[in-house]
Symmetry: C2
Subunit: 112 residues, 2 copies
DNA sequence: CGCTTGTTTCGATGTCTGTCGATACAGTCG
DNA sequence: CGACTGTATCGACAGACATCGAAACAAGCG
C-alpha cells in the first residue's frame, strides 16, 4: 500500500484514503478507542473479552460488536483459547496511522 | 487535556476518549482525509476552497460541509480573505493524534 | 449428556451522517 | 446600486451505525 508517508507531504490518493478512512472510522467511537487502549496496555499485550466488558456501561453484545469492528479494521487480532477469547493489538496498523499523521519537522513544505 | 500519551501505555479515560474519538471521526471519511492532506501539502500550508472543490466528484455544498467538520474537530483553521476562504492545517491536532497512536519502542510492556 | 458460563450472531429500532438542490450570505467589479 | 462569483447554510432523504434483547454457538464440568 502506498499510503504510509505523512499526509502532510503529498495529497492522498483515492484508494489510500478509502482504506485509511476505514481504520479511522474504527477509532471514531469512544468505546472502541478505550477498548483498544485497554487491550494494548493490558499485561502481555492481550486481553480476554471478559476483561473488556465490565469497564463499560453498554451490554456485552455491544462490546462484542465493537471488537468485531476493530478486528475487521485490522487493528486487533483475536483467538479463542479454551473458554475465553483473547484480543491483541496489531502494532503495524497503529504505526501506519501514526506515521500518516506525523508532521515531518516543518509543517510547511521545504523552503527553497 | 490528559490525552496525549501513547494509548498503548495506559487505558484512555472516558473524557479523553470522547474528545479523541471526535477527531478520529473527522478523519473517518475518505473525502475529509483527502481534503486534509490536500490542505496540508499545499504550497504555503493553506489552500482556498476553490482549490479544494475540483478534485472531488461531490457537490460544492458537500465539500463545504466536510470542511466544517474538519474545522469543528479542530484539525484545520479558516479565514476569509477578500473573495476567497482559506483553510490551513493545525499541526498540533495531528501531532496529538500521531503521538497517541505511537508504539513506544516495545509493543508489549517491558518484560520482567 | 445436559447444565452453566463466555462469546457471537441476529433482528429491530432510533439516531447520526453524507449527499443533494435550493437558497442565503459575502465580496468584487462595472 | 446591481450583477456576478465564491462560499456557507438549510431542508430533505437514503443509507450507515450504535445499541439492545433474544437466541445461537462454544467449551468446560457435573
Amino acid at each position: 500500500m502506498a499510503c504510509c508517508a505523512p499526509m502532510v507531504r503529498e495529497p492522498l490518493g483515492e484508494e489510500a484514503a478509502a482504506g485509511l478512512s476505514r481504520m479511522f472510522k474504527a477509532l471514531s467511537d469512544p468505546i472502541r478507542l478505550r477498548l483498544l487502549s485497554l487491550i494494548a496496555s493490558h499485561d502481555g499485550g492481550e486481553a480476554c473479552v471478559c476483561d473488556l466488558t465490565a469497564p463499560f456501561d453498554v451490554s456485552q453484545p455491544t462490546i462484542s460488536h465493537h471488537l468485531k469492528v476493530l478486528r475487521e479494521a485490522g487493528l486487533v487480532g483475536s483467538e479463542r483459547r479454551g473458554t475465553w477469547v483473547y484480543y491483541w493489538m496489531l502494532p503495524e496498523a497503529l504505526a501506519k496511522l501514526s506515521t500518516l499523521l506525523e508532521i515531518p519537522a516543518m509543517s510547511a513544505k521545504a523552503p527553497t
